[in-house]
Symmetry: C2
């Protein structure tokens, strides 16, 4: 007799995107479905030099068990960078190194969520967070995103009418929508949250990938001084294969996070932490990020221009100033799932929007990734997709 | 107002061992408290060569996101090694690569444990498992360990009188006791479990570290064909700092594990997986393990001999044929916590046994690690400890 699974497993499923990515393995398909950074930009030679140096100078230590909090010099580097880049005060003791920022979501669930607790997310929302919080049988509430951040009227109503443990948000170049909170919306969110028993979790993997316009301070510590947690990651500014993320939090909260992390995987790879630390110490991360910005910015421009040339006017598409994604909205009557099936026949792929909506809406939306396709493919793929949409609209 | 923590956090605490290890940071203390492999034995040069080769030959791929299951060639290597070393059939598709084998425990909890579910563990039991399952608010039942494995009469009674989801066991050179299940006990456990709705989770991080005597087949797949999961790790045979472990399981169970793993950290470091794969491909892991065996075996012999010379007869100590630990039992009336305080004054440390017992017993036991101290320190440390024990007994 098979052993019964836990209740939580009945509410979670294999990632829909994962299944879609399988379909797009076919090399003849131009795929805008993934969410991958461009591997041509990984600083392979510099990371190799860093790995060699670490092994030469601290071989045994870099391969031994280490503390759950993470490598202190790396935590100090991250803290210093917050001051330099974002202008906010963070100490090394407030950083917890995690196995990718995805692990932060799991630790947040462990430390804060009882079954049935409300979690407030954006609509559309980040799929990894939906998956992770679902494991804790949380109940999702959603606040709609406008061009410049969440609908504050809707947010206030949600906060007044429900008790939620966590409000999870991606404030810069959100996945999937590419949208960014304006300073006014940041201030508005902080004003609405202040004094309430709700934790604002601000995930910011894309913030440094800004191609144009100006950066804003994080809501946490910039606008909101209490009940905030910041998440960060080296995946988009260095390389995701090292699985290195972090969480900024302090006090008792951090103590609990360390307990949860210890029970989850003891600590994050000592070797990976030391190699990335060596890399950011011996090289200029700023210069490297400048290269990523230039490339992604140009890929984004090509995609936007192709969309203007090939998509019918009825399709609305966001124009993000950074990040990795564009977000498209078809006319109400159209299903992006139906379009997906058609698009695959035309050898082009994207991610239909519905999985990003926990309320079953979003049928007419889809996500386009521009970071991991060359410019010729972007031009050609968008043309194919535009033709497919036109076919649909003319039926 | 601070946000309320989840209920599960009220039952788990910072690792006791972690706190003890802080006390033993003092360089003048000879510590048998840790559970660390000897870093002098890490194959630094070979791992460095492997890292360089991976970065030269598959740089971008080794730094990109990858599949949740893990790097296929590494899974194939592990499957082949099971056949070669343990004589059991495992396919690459049954291996799930994890971020250390500690993560296997977290995934098991996620996939199987509802709050209040019974989990059967050994008495004494592995602390990492107690911590990890505690996060799922499990209720622990314990079966006592005899010299050759669990007390089968007690096990049968426990199985008859309670429904448990999981029986978690370390069958070779257990942490903390150093004890190993005999073939008869393996058969006995399998016979008792067969046909019941209970999952046997066999953790085997130390199995290959055998200094003398013969190895036995795992219970899972060797003696028990159903409802078994095997856990493994590169931490003790290569290096722990890469955080690479794995789980052997199949069918729907594996599908659920992949969902849980994806929600937990997406996947384990692509780079770490490829480096370890390259290392085991270009080098003989068998030869390397032979070096570890020789060194640990000799350290174990020195510790056993020193114990025979310096401990009073009333103290019983296990004589394991492998692994990293000895287990000591003081006379009933003595507390190893009290001895610990005294020992620290004499500049020697160990881990008191009580944390390994969820039922509050074990007051008179303690764990000694022999893998991470040189032979002169072992001789001197055991002498100091023996003197402390004699002082106590003469009071």
């Amino acid at each position: 007799m098979p052993v019964q699974f836990a209740d939580r497993m009945s509410t979670v499923h294999r990632s829909f995107i994962r299944e879609i990515l399988k379909v797009t393995q076919d090399q003849s398909i131009i795929s805008f479905a993934g969410g991958l950074p461009n591997p041509e930009l990984f600083p392979v030679a510099d990371l190799k030099a860093a790995a060699v140096d670490v092994m030469q100078e601290a071989g045994p230590q870099s391969m031994q068990y280490s503390t759950t909090e993470g490598f202190e010099p790396l935590r100090q580097y991250i803290a210093d960078r917050y001051k330099k880049v974002k202008g906010i005060d963070v100490s090394a003791d407030e950083i917890l190194i995690t196995s990718g920022s995805q692990q932060c979501l799991d630790l947040l669930g462990k430390v804060f969520l009882n079954s049935g607790d409300n979690v407030l997310i954006e609509r559309p929302g980040y799929l990894g967070a939906i998956q992770s919080f679902s494991m804790f049988q949380s109940n999702f509430l959603t606040v709609g995103l406008e061009e410049d951040g969440p609908d504050l009227t809707e947010l206030e109503k949600l906060l007044n009418e429900n008790e939620s443990k966590i409000f999870y948000a991606v404030t810069n170049f959100q996945n999937p929508s590419g949208l960014t909170y304006s300073p006014e919306k940041r201030q508005g969110v902080a004003d609405l949250l202040r004094g309430r028993d709700i934790l604002f979790v601000e995930d910011d993997p894309y913030g440094e990938l800004r191609f144009m316009g100006e950066s804003y301070q994080p809501v946490v510590r910039g606008y909101l001084k209490e009940n905030g947690i910041l998440l960060g990651s080296f995946s988009k500014v260095a390389a995701p294969g090292f699985r290195l993320g972090w969480m900024v939090c302090s006090g008792e909260m951090r103590d609990k996070m360390i307990i949860a992390k210890q029970a989850s995987d003891l600590h994050t790879s000592t070797f990976a932490q030391r190699v990335i630390h060596r890399y950011v110490t011996d090289n200029s991360l700023d210069e490297h990020i400048e290269k990523i910005r230039a490339r992604y910015g140009s890929q984004r421009d090509v995609m936007v221009k192709a969309i203007e040339a090939h998509f019918p006017e009825e399709v609305k598409v966001t124009r993000p100033e950074g990040g990795m994604f564009l977000w498209a909205t078809l006319p109400e009557s159209m299903s992006s799932m139906d379009l997906f099936d058609e698009a695959i026949k035309n050898k082009v792929a994207f991610v239909p929007g519905r999985p990003f909506y926990v309320d079953g809406s979003g049928e007419n939306t889809f996500r386009l990734n521009f970071s991991n396709a060359d410019e010729a493919s972007i031009e050609e793929g968008i043309k194919r997709l535009g033709d497919g949409i036109k076919d649909f609209l003319s039926r």
